[in-house]
Symmetry: C3
Subunit: 446 residues, 3 copies
Amino acid sequence: MHSPGTKVTGFIVLMIVQIILLALFWLFVRYGDEALPLAEGEELGEPHVSKYPHFQDVQVMIYIGFGFLMTFLRKYGYSATGYTLFLAALVVQWSILVKGFFHMEDGKISLILENIVDADIAAAVPLISMGALLGRTTPIQLLFMAIVEIVLFAANEYVALNIFSACDVGGSITVHAFGAYFGLAVSLMLRPSKEQNEAGKYEGANYTSDIFAMIGTLFLYVYWPSFNSVLADGNARERAILNTYLSLAAATVTTFIVSALVSHENKLDMVHVQNSTLAGGVAIGTVCNLLVGAHGAILIGIIAGCISVLGYSYLSPRITAVLGIHDTCGVHNLHGMPAVLSAIASAIFACLVTKEKYKSELIQIFPAMAAAPENSNSTIILGGYERTATAQAGFQLCAIAVTLLVAIVGGIITGAILKYTGMRKLQKDEHHQDELHWEVPDHKED
Amino acid sequence: MHSPGTKVTGFIVLMIVQIILLALFWLFVRYGDEALPLAEGEELGEPHVSKYPHFQDVQVMIYIGFGFLMTFLRKYGYSATGYTLFLAALVVQWSILVKGFFHMEDGKISLILENIVDADIAAAVPLISMGALLGRTTPIQLLFMAIVEIVLFAANEYVALNIFSACDVGGSITVHAFGAYFGLAVSLMLRPSKEQNEAGKYEGANYTSDIFAMIGTLFLYVYWPSFNSVLADGNARERAILNTYLSLAAATVTTFIVSALVSHENKLDMVHVQNSTLAGGVAIGTVCNLLVGAHGAILIGIIAGCISVLGYSYLSPRITAVLGIHDTCGVHNLHGMPAVLSAIASAIFACLVTKEKYKSELIQIFPAMAAAPENSNSTIILGGYERTATAQAGFQLCAIAVTLLVAIVGGIITGAILKYTGMRKLQKDEHHQDELHWEVPDHKED
Amino acid sequence: MHSPGTKVTGFIVLMIVQIILLALFWLFVRYGDEALPLAEGEELGEPHVSKYPHFQDVQVMIYIGFGFLMTFLRKYGYSATGYTLFLAALVVQWSILVKGFFHMEDGKISLILENIVDADIAAAVPLISMGALLGRTTPIQLLFMAIVEIVLFAANEYVALNIFSACDVGGSITVHAFGAYFGLAVSLMLRPSKEQNEAGKYEGANYTSDIFAMIGTLFLYVYWPSFNSVLADGNARERAILNTYLSLAAATVTTFIVSALVSHENKLDMVHVQNSTLAGGVAIGTVCNLLVGAHGAILIGIIAGCISVLGYSYLSPRITAVLGIHDTCGVHNLHGMPAVLSAIASAIFACLVTKEKYKSELIQIFPAMAAAPENSNSTIILGGYERTATAQAGFQLCAIAVTLLVAIVGGIITGAILKYTGMRKLQKDEHHQDELHWEVPDHKED
């Protein structure tokens, strides 16, 4: 048992982190033009007006969606909602800086609405990883993990989008695959010794906690089209909305059906309903702005629902048994596998891209397939301009491969730090319960 | 007791349904122009941008609003939220097709944002019917009902809006009245034998389930102005928002007052608070874009709150006693009667319509009252152009009459199919509880 | 013990109030131009389109945010959500009238979207006061208080914004400080006799009620940028969003840290997490559209989080012990002190205002600092035009001073009326429990 002193030290370190963030904002962040007063007579541009509702939907997904989705554990609801809020509030500040450092102008980061959209999306990454580890870390460990993870995420995203010029508008590769496999790698490092490998005493839902979790599921479901389309523009944004909507619907129907078919006594399983229904949103993510067709979106949704439920039923128990990797929320089934599916789909659909079909959108969606601009001094793109469709498909696969590599190696190193340094760690009997870190009322549910 | 085999068969049939949906999308659905890449230099139109936030509000109403409103039963929360999700996810796909078949171009359905707005609105119809039946059907029965109901709904809507040229921007006639009376007719067919007519063992709320239900109520309340105004345009949309807002507020105040006055020991009743507060949104639905005046909206809200609470207190018990129709959520009081009120109000306000008052909006809101367009070869409207105000009022009443007829006859036939074919039916002691179809955790609320 | 008759009388009086509201709307309220049909060929203006999503976010904050935030009491969840709905529904009607009377044209109030935005914001005021009193009043007392409070609020707001020309875009002075200190003053008058000063039998959370309260917290958190920015325009709106976002994030991180440091055994306290995290939204309110810089917003958030948690831990118990003022939700720590902080910050930042920095926004944000318009016959502003930065700072401090004065004096008088007139009052053992005014189901949580 660690002394309370360790805990206090951790929180004092965090206070210093917050103050360092304040200093970095002071030094590096300035309002961008669209957040500054106009000169007299200057005209108002309004790119931000149309994205603000999308942004608010993403906010709901991060704080209410993720927060409540993780309340399914019957004694871990304070932590699920509270740590989600804590972690996201820290990460959004950090990721504005980290992502900003990749795109500075005159040594300053320009702050506009887009930066906080990006920050919210980045916050999803450690929250996904947290899902794999839920109930088995201290808040200090989580926050340390998140701080490291955001740096690796931003670097990997830069490689995937700016070096490889891969398309990934809904972030399935850079956000979902990265967050899931990073979290699983950390979980691998934190795996308990063999004799402690059974489920924790408090691991499991009760009736009320399962309904709380549905708040998370349903808000994620409803707003997922906004998540996938917030970075798309023009007509491609509408297409991203339509495809995501259909893929989610098909994944949901499939989830219920497969859940009933594989479950004990053909009963529906809330774990599947809470999670696999959303696999359609992940699986369509990378390709949602492509011309996949309504049927393509539905097909992807059906496949995603299937693999996600089957993953929960058959694969996850095997992974725990064989590798010792616990995955509390099953992020491998909700985020991991569907994201890989999305990456594969993106390679397939990239093969079919032609200038005739994508017209003016080609340069937005697949900039490396377009002709080199007249003055192309500012952008260096791996493989050069006028990439073929097959080459683009190859780069899509490179993007997922590098993502998996960075996530897994980064996760293993991060997990090792969490395990072998002086940070307080949870004992097995401290897992999945709030009482260790929260004042919990005595009152019975009366 | 039916064998598990029946259940498996049902789910396999559903899998086939989902695959048929996939095939139909493949054959008939294409992206509409606003979801397709623009040619170089083509300008972006953006009708969809302004409707997307409305659409997202409607999404919240369907999945969170309806889902949680039905969680008030203390042992039926998984089903309330889960079946809402399942049913809506199936219905939106189906209704895109069914409604699309009424408006095909060159044998194809053009998919744009409007189609999924319409699909979400259509999903409300079987969810309302489900409210009448809540806890007394299997999921397979619900889904079968929904599939049939959507076809009848789409046909009836076509008659009301395109043949009768009735106005019904908030869908009170075509959505709320249809859904409610269809569900009640199905409930009539599924009524238990006389000796089993008392309330079910598990029918009732507990403290927690009643608060969960308030999540549904409050989101429906907050977003109802979006539901009623999403199909309105221009200044009429703002009017629809204002009228709905005021009608809801007045209905809510009235609900609390009447609830206290009619209840035992003058205590407030959560059933009224959860439901009758929303009657103002239904009652203003058909007329919300008309020039009803702020006072008109408030008056309609007051009347709606009154009849809804009185319906719960006095009428519903009579209907159950006399006709044997159970109405678990009281959809007759929330959707049925207020929708009829809305239809009557629409006839009254239609009488007052003049070209001078409605100016450029006349042709949008009451197209049959406008002068015939120069080349009117494409539209045939019952009763011809330049309809008088009184004639329009008559057609409003025809719309609600036909709606009631189609809903009740359709519901009786559908209920008969549910009852007399081989589909598994629930026994009385299986009502209102999740355990039959869901894996429910053993953990006590500890 | 009062007779049931008192209760019935109260509700009948309320019915009369609702009918009077109807009459006043009939007499005084007309649709504004943007809600009326256009003449043929007239062009659609669309200022309202861009504000509607903001408005809907504010709606969620009022009804779901406030409603659920107050569900933390384990036996008062029906009242928390129900009375919030009841009170808000009454107040929005009343405040459209009261605020409208200050801005009539030709003896009529023009109803447009902005009026209902304002009405929702006004509804926050008595809801904040209700937070101070939660569980210690009857619904009739609450509604009486709200009716009086709205009049004083509107008058005070008129003084602060129109006479003093203070800036207060997020309403920290006029809404948060006013609501909090008014509620505390009422609470002072309703304080129990000395021997009854201990906490109520039912005052306290249980595990489930604390998670319900997080629904409120998280929606308030997510949508607070909309609350603060809904009345800002152009680029200043984007700045208001960015500053609010950062202040909230910094306050949240700080809240968790300080909560852990000051709490028993360094455990986190849900009261802090539910409330102090939001102090950043209040504290940035008055200055969120100013050029405070990203670092300024973060610094304000850090200070707000600190004082709010320390207020809960040290100040509130002292206030109760010394003055006998109970503050059920701790509105002094969430709304009161952070709002005063915001006012002080506004004086500081007002000192730094120059025409060079604010350019075309100066006249919008600080109209009294701008040059007098050519025909300034309509506006009389205290202190005249071309106010200096220091004078503006002085008027900011006047605004908060007058607000505190009006709120406290008004609250004391209102509290005296609630206490010394014939209105039914709650006994100590009737506090913080629904059973007195609600039908509560017998069913155990089974």
